[in-house]
Amino acid sequence: MYLLNLSFLQFLAVFGSISAFAVALYLLDRSRRRQMVSTLRFWIAAEQPAAAAHRRHIQQPWSLVLQLVSMALLVLAIAQLRLGSPAQSGRDHVLVLDTSAWMAARSGNRTLMDLARDRARRYLRALPGRDRVMLVRADALATPATAFEPDRRKLEAAIMASQPGATALNLDQALAFARHIQSQAGGRAGEIAFVGTSRISQREAAAPPPRNLRVLLVPDPIENCGLSKIGMRRSASDPGLWDILVSARNYGSQTRNITLSIDFGPGGAAGRVPAGSQHLTLPAGGEKEATFQYRTDAAGILGVSLSPHDAFPRDDRAELELPAQPTLMVTVYSDEPDLLKPLLAATPRVFAVYRKPSDYRSTDTGLVILDRFAPTQRPVADSLWIDPPAGGSPIPVRRVVEQAPFAGWDDAHPAAAGLRTKDFKLEHATVFDPAPDDGRIGEVEAGPVIVARAGHPKMVVFGFHPALSPLRYELAAPLLFANLLRWYSPEIFRRWEIAGGSVGSVKLLMDQDTLPKDVRVTAQDGSPLPFTVRDRTLDFFAGVPGPVRVVAGDREYMYSLTLPQIGDARWEPPAESLKTLPHFALSIDTAIDLWRWLALAGGAGLLAEWILFGHFRRFRHSRRLSPVLLRSKASDPEEVRR
C-alpha cells in the first residue's frame, strides 16, 4: 500500500491540517452559543440550568469521529491510495524525437527519420500500459507534440506525423526541457528517451545529461557534402556585374571531389542558362570557397548546384532571387542640352533623352527637366524647372534680383545634404514665394531661389540656370544634382547584397551606422521579423526556410535562407545511460485502484453525519413541529363560536 500523489508525511500534514480545522469548526459550532431571547420562561420549563455542570467540550463525539474518518477517506482518495508496491504505479516518460534537418538524409532506401520513427514506436510499445508519455520534437527548438498521454494510438499518430525540420539539433536544450517538464508533471518520473542521431549543433555548451536518460541512436554513417554559404553583391567597380561567393563543406570522413555550378534564369527548370562551374576537392570535415562573376541587370533566379549528389540532397542546391537594376528615365527639354549633359552623365543609372521644347509631351515618365521653358500643360511625372519664365513658373515669383550673393543651403532638406559652398553671386535670379510646406533648398537674402515641392509628382524649381551661373564652377553643382536625383528616385542608389544560408540565427554586419528605426526585416510574406541592432551588427532569427529582406537605409540585404542547418559536431552519449529498448515486467498492471471506493465511503460518511447529527435533523424536526398546527387549532370556527 502506498500513496501515489502524496508521500506519507505529506498525507499526514494535509490530514492533520484538515482535522485541526474540522475540530476547530466543530468546537466553534458546538460550543456555548450566546443568544438573546424574548423570554426565559419556556427555557426554564424546558431544561434545568447547567451553570454548575461541567462543560462538555465535545458533546457529540461520534459526530466528530464520523467527520474525521470521512475526511481521512477523502484525503486518501485524493492521494490515490492503491494496493500494491510502488513499482507497480505508472510513470511519466518524455520521448525526445530528433526532427533536425539531418534526419532527412537517406540511409539505404529509407530516411533517418523513418528509422527514428520506427525506434520511437518500438520504445512506446515496450512501455507498460499504465505509463504516460510526452512526445517532444527536437531541432533547434524543443516543441512538445503531446501532453503526458496514456493513449498509445495518439502517441503513435504524433510520431508518424513528425517530419525533419530545417535546423540542427540543440540536444542540451531538448533534454533540459524534458527534465523540466517531467519535474513539473507531479507524477512519478520515468525516463527521458532520446531517439535520433548524434549529429548536433556545435554552439551548444556541454551540460550534464539527466540520470534517467535512455539513448536510442539511429546509425548515420552517411557521407555528405553540401553548400554551406552563398554571398552575392554587385561589383564596386562595375554595377552590372555580380560577385558571387559560394562555400561548400564536406561533413563526411572521406575526401570528395565536387563540382560547383551556377545557372541563371526565371523561376522553374525551363529557360535556365548555365553561368559557370568550378571543381573543388574537399578534405574530410573541410570547407572551401569558390568565387564566380555574372553580369546581368535583369531580375531572375540564380541557382547554385553541387554535384555529384549524395544521400542528403537538400544541401546540394540553393536558389537566390536577384533583383533588377533600377534606372531613372530623364527627359530634358532644352535648346542648349550640352549645358546639362555633364551633370546627368555622372550617374550611370540615369538614362537621359534630350528633346527640343517644341517636341514637348506632358505624358513623359520618369523625370522631366524643363530648361527655361514653361509648357502650357505641366508634366504628369516628376519635374525639374530651370529658370522658368515668370508667367509660367509653377511656384509664384516674388521678385527678380541682380548680383545677389548666395546666402546658404537648407541643411534639413535631403537635396541640400552636404552642400556648403556659398561664395558666389547670382547675376540674375528669380526669387520665389513658396508655400509653407515647400522646401527652400537654396536662398539669397531676398528669399529662396531653389524651391522643392514634395508630393506627387515631385517638383523642383531653379530661379537661375546652374550651368550659366558661377555655381557651375563649384563642387556643389554635381552634388546638388546627385542629391536631387536621390530625392526623386532613391531606389536607383540602393545597393544590394544577397546571401544564401540556413535558417536560424543570422548575424549581419552592416557597412554603415544605421538607426534601428531605419531598419526593416521582413519575411517572404511581408511579416516583420524581430531583430536587434548593436553597434553595426544586426541579429535576427528566421524559424522557417524562405527569403528574408533587410532594408537598412539605402542598403538592402536579401537572405535566401533555404539551406538546411546541419550540425557540425558529434555527441557522445554518457556511458551510464541506457542504450537499448526497455523490458518491463508484465505484472505491473495488477495494482488495484482504491480511490473510487474511498471517495464513495468518505462521501457516505459525511452524508450520514449530516443526517444523524447535522442540520438535516434540525430541519426535519422544525418541519415536524410546524406552527401551522397551532394556528389551525386556534382559528377553528367551531371553537371561536363557542
Partner: protein, 294 residues
C-alpha cells in the same frame, strides 16, 4: 423612522371590503355597523314594552292602543358606533431575536386601522410596554390614514412589559366599554392572564393577536446556550437538545393555548401568528376565520 411605507397601496385596496367585527352588544350612538341588543333609534323593529310616563309619544303603537286600549311603546334595534381600541406591544421582547415581531405588529396595526377608517370607525391606538403611550386617534375616513401610518411607523422599541400596570391605566382612562384589540407576544414574566381578566370583567370584548417569531416557538439552536432575556437582561445557561426543544415547544404551545382559551371563554377572538406567515395570509385567512374582520 423608516422611510418606506409600512403597507403598499395595492394591499390597502384589498382591505377596503372588510370591517372590524365584534360579538358583544355595546351602547353607543347610531352610525355603527354591528347590531346591538340595546334598543335605540334604529330602523329594525326589536320589541314592545309598556309605556311609561315621559316616553316619546312618537314611538307609541297606536294600532295596538285602538285594539287593546293600552299604550305600548315600539322599540327598535340600533347599530351603535362603538369605540375600538387597539393596544400594540412595543416592549423589548418584541424586538428579540431579530425584530420581526415588532415590524409585523406595526404592519398589522396599520392594516386594522385602515379597515376601521374605511368603515368610518373611530380607533384609539396605544403602543404599550409597562404603560400606555400617547393616544393615536384614527377617525374621519381613509384620507386620514397616511398620518396614522406615519405615527405607527415612528414607534420604537422600549420598556419592559407590565400588563397589569398597563391595564390599570387603560381602565382608568376609558370608562366606555368596547372592543379592545391587543397585538402582542404576551410575554410578561409576571403573567398577563390576570390583567386580561380585568379587561374582560370590565366588559370589554378582547381580540388577542399573539405574534411569535419562529425562533420563539422552536429554537433552532443545539448545545450549550448562554441565553439572555431581552427585557430584564437575566441570563440562563443550559444544555439544549432535541428533547429539551420538544419540552420548550410544548410549554410555549401550552401558554398560547391559555391565552386563546381566555379570549374564547369571554366571547372574544384569538389568533396565533408566526412572523413567517405573510400578513396577507393572516388578514385574508386567519382573521376572517376567527371573525375578527368580515
Amino acid at each position: 423612522m423608516s422611510s418606506a411605507p409600512l403597507l403598499d397601496r395595492e394591499f390597502l385596496e384589498k382591505l377596503e371590503r372588510f370591517a372590524i367585527q365584534w360579538q358583544k352588544s355595546f351602547a353607543g350612538l347610531v352610525g355603527g355597523h354591528n347590531l346591538s341588543r340595546f334598543a335605540g333609534a334604529g330602523q329594525e323593529f326589536l320589541d314592545h314594552r309598556n309605556f311609561h310616563h315621559g316616553d316619546d309619544l312618537r314611538a307609541v303603537n297606536w294600532r295596538a292602543y285602538l285594539r287593546l286600549e293600552k299604550l305600548f311603546l315600539k322599540m327598535f334595534q340600533v347599530e351603535p358606533r362603538v369605540p375600538v381600541r387597539m393596544l400594540v406591544d412595543v416592549s423589548q421582547s418584541m424586538a428579540a431575536p431579530h425584530g420581526q415581531k415588532f415590524d409585523y405588529a406595526r404592519k398589522l396595526a396599520a392594516a386594522l386601522c385602515y379597515v376601521g377608517l374605511v368603515r368610518l370607525d373611530s380607533i384609539e391606538v396605544h403602543a404599550f410596554s409597562n404603560r400606555l403611550s400617547q393616544r393615536l386617534f384614527a377617525t374621519g375616513g381613509r384620507h386620514r390614514f397616511p398620518g396614522v401610518m406615519d405615527r405607527i411607523a415612528a414607534w420604537e422599541n422600549a420598556g419592559v412589559t407590565d400588563y397589569l400596570a398597563m391595564v390599570r391605566e387603560f381602565i382608568g382612562t376609558y370608562s366606555q366599554r368596547g372592543l379592545v384589540i391587543i397585538i402582542s407576544d404576551f410575554l410578561d414574566d409576571r403573567g398577563c392572564e390576570r390583567a386580561l381578566e380585568y379587561l374582560i370583567d370590565f366588559g370589554h370584548e378582547l381580540m388577542l393577536l399573539q405574534i411569535w417569531a419562529d425562533e420563539d416557538r422552536i429554537p433552532p439552536w443545539t448545545g450549550e446556550l448562554d441565553l439572555r432575556d431581552a427585557e430584564t437582561g437575566a441570563a440562563l445557561r443550559l444544555d439544549f437538545d432535541d428533547v429539551a426543544r420538544r419540552r420548550y415547544t410544548a410549554a410555549f404551545d401550552e401558554y398560547a393555548a391559555q391565552i386563546r382559551a381566555m379570549a374564547l371563554r369571554s366571547g372574544g377572538r384569538y389568533a396565533g401568528i408566526a412572523t413567517s406567515q405573510a400578513i396577507e395570509d393572516l388578514i385574508f385567512g386567519d382573521l376572517i376565520r376567527a371573525r375578527g374582520i368580515a
